[in-house]
Each structure stands twice: as C-alpha cells, then as structure tokens.
C-alpha cells in the first residue's frame, strides 16, 4: 500500500509542475478511475502503463504534446515502464 500511495503522490507531483496541485490531484483521481477503475491510493505498478496512456490526451490538450510527453516519460522512467 505504501508503494501504491507513492505512485499517486509521484504522478501528482509531476503533473503539479504544469497544472498546479489541485488540478494534478483531481487529474490523477479522474484518470485512475477511467483507466483502471481504482482510487489513486489503490494504484499498483501494473496500473502505471494504463494510467500513462489515459493521461496522454489530457496532457496534450493542457500543456501540448512535447511538454506532456516529458511528464509521461518521467513517470515511465520512475516506474521502469516501456
């Protein structure tokens, strides 16, 4: 569970740089629900690839493709997701 909490916190922290802490928290909650039907604190390493894919269109709209891909690649690198 400690690992799961850190996934949500890490992703929120990455998103918050661009979207601010409030929107980042809500985005993780929204896309964790959409991608894997889980609460942020229930996310596991196995859910990270689907979470990344779910957040990709959102980031492309909010910050653009390149900045969005930087955020996603940081998350992927942290959890060693291809």
């Amino acid at each position: 569970m400690a690992n799961a909490v850190s996934i949500a916190e890490f992703v929120t922290g990455r998103l918050a740089i661009h979207l601010g802490p409030n929107v980042a928290r809500m985005a993780v909650k929204t896309f964790a629900q959409k991608a894997v039907a889980l609460k942020p604190e229930q996310l596991t390493l196995a859910d990270v690839p689907r979470l990344i894919e779910a957040m990709r269109p959102m980031l492309h709209v909010m910050v653009g493709r390149d900045p969005g891909e930087v955020v996603l690649s940081e998350i992927a690198r942290e959890y060693q997701v291809a």
């Binding site: 661009h18 601010g20 929107v23 909010m62 910050v63 653009g64 493709r65 930087v70």
Partner: protein, 268 residues
C-alpha cells in the same frame, strides 16, 4: 526567466506604453495624431500576432489543440493589424477593412473559446462545479452586455438607416461572447494556481479584461465624471495596451514552456 517575472514584465511594459502614449500624444499636432494612434495600435496588434505565431508554430499550428488556439489568435491579430493599416491608408471604413475586422473578431472568439474549454477537451470537466460555472458565466455575460450594449444599439440603428454595413455589428457581438468567456478563463486560472499553465490562463484573462476596459471605458468614464476627450482616449488606449501586451505575454509564456520541454527531451 521565470513565468512570474514575465507577468511582472508585461505589467511594466503596459504601464510604460500607456504613460509614454499620454505624454507623446499631447505634444503632437492634430493632423499627425490619427497616424500616430494607428501606428501605435498596429504595433501592439503585431506584437500579439508575432507572439501568437511563435506559440502556434511551436505546437504545429493546427496539428495540436494548444496550437489551434494560438493559430486563431495569430490570424485574429494579423487581420486586426491589417484592418488598421487599410483604414488609415484609405481614409475610412472600406469593405476590405470591415472584412478584416469580421475575420479578426471571429478568430478571437474561436481562440478564446478553445482556451476556455481546455478543461472539457482534456476530460477534466469535473474540476469546477456546474453551478459555479453557470453563475460565473451568467454574471460575465451580463457585464459583457452592459459594456457592449451602446455599441450594439448604435451600430444596429446605423445599419437600419443604411449608414453602416451589417458587418459593423459583428465586432460588438463578438466582444460580448469573448467577454462572457472570461468566467471559464478565470475559473480555470484559479484552479491551475501553483502550476506553469496558470500563468498562461492568468495572462489571457488579464488581456481579455484589457479588451473589456477598451470597449467599456466610453460608458464607465462619463459615469464617474471623467468625460473629457483626453481621458476617454487615454482609458481606451490603456485597455488596448493591456490587452495586447498581456495576450502577447501569454503566447510567449506558452512558447517558452514548450521550448524548455523540448530542450529537456533533447537532453534526456
């Protein structure tokens, strides 16, 4: 450069433009003043066009969502700059200048709407309560109607009397829509506080408030006893400068953020 510094710089730049304009305008001969005003307005519009073009180019113009909004702003401010030049060169309102104004206003409405509905497009529509959004939009629509009412009525009567083309109505009607969109822009900026994107939304919101000042000063100034020709012109130019400088700063901020991300990709 930090985005906060860019916002402060935009505020300083707008203040300098307004102060310098007030000082310079008084010293000019009456025959020169219209050319000076056209020159100043054209320069400010071109500033936005260049900055928006930079941002749009960074996002592949129409290829990305963000790029589409900046492409609209680029087109809008290019058309408006062209209309200023055409109007001065021909000595009055012509079909060409009217078409540029219409195209410019429509592009501003589309660009502002694209930015204002970013949250919806991104699938983040649950961030603001529907009630709060409806109330805020209704309030901003009422303010927009109050600011543009005179212009709409005057242009409508002139159109009926055959003194103006129907296209003269497009500008104040487009202003109503753009001003009403300040509610979602402001609420989005408020939600995004603490993040880099906040600055883009905040600068755009401030720029739109500049257009509201530019449009509404004719009504606001006499209401508080400030109805000399000089004060009305100064207020309108202040609104114009705030709008152009802050929207250009928003575009530059967007470009800078994407450029830094691109550099991070290259280094990574």
């Amino acid at each position: 450069m930090k985005f906060r510094s860019l916002a402060i710089l935009a505020g300083v730049a707008a203040t300098i433009v307004v102060t310098a304009d007030t000082l310079v305008y008084q010293t000019l001969d009456r025959t020169v003043r219209p050319f000076y005003t056209t020159g100043l307005r054209t320069l400010l519009l071109l500033l936005v066009a260049v900055a928006a073009g930079l941002a749009a180019n960074r996002f592949g113009w129409l290829r990305e969502y963000v790029g589409r909004a900046w492409t609209c702003f680029f087109a809008a401010y290019s058309f408006l700059a062209a209309s200023e030049v055409i109007r001065r060169a021909t000595g009055g309102t012509t079909l060409a200048s009217q078409l540029c104004v219409i195209a410019g206003n429509i592009a501003i409405v589309i660009g502002t709407a694209l930015v204002a509905r970013s949250f919806n497009a991104a699938g983040l529509d649950a961030l603001t309560s529907r009630t709060r959004m409806v109330v805020a939009t209704a309030v901003s629509l009422l303010i927009a109607l109050a600011l543009c009412y005179d212009a709409i009525v005057v242009n409508f009567r002139a159109t009926l009397a055959g003194q103006e083309m129907a296209s003269a109505l497009v500008s104040p009607l487009a202003d109503v829509i753009t001003f009403a969109l300040i509610a979602p822009l402001f609420l989005s900026a408020f939600a995004l506080r603490g993040g880099q994107v906040f600055w883009i939304f905040a600068l755009l919101t401030t720029g739109t408030m500049g257009w509201m000042l530019n449009q509404g000063w004719d009504i606001m100034a006499p209401a508080v006893g400030l109805d000399t020709e000089q004060i009305i012109r100064a207020g309108r130019i202040a609104g114009f400068a705030i709008a152009c400088v802050f929207i250009a700063a928003a575009a530059f901020t967007q470009w800078l953020a994407a450029r830094r991300a691109g550099q991070a990709v290259a280094i990574g």
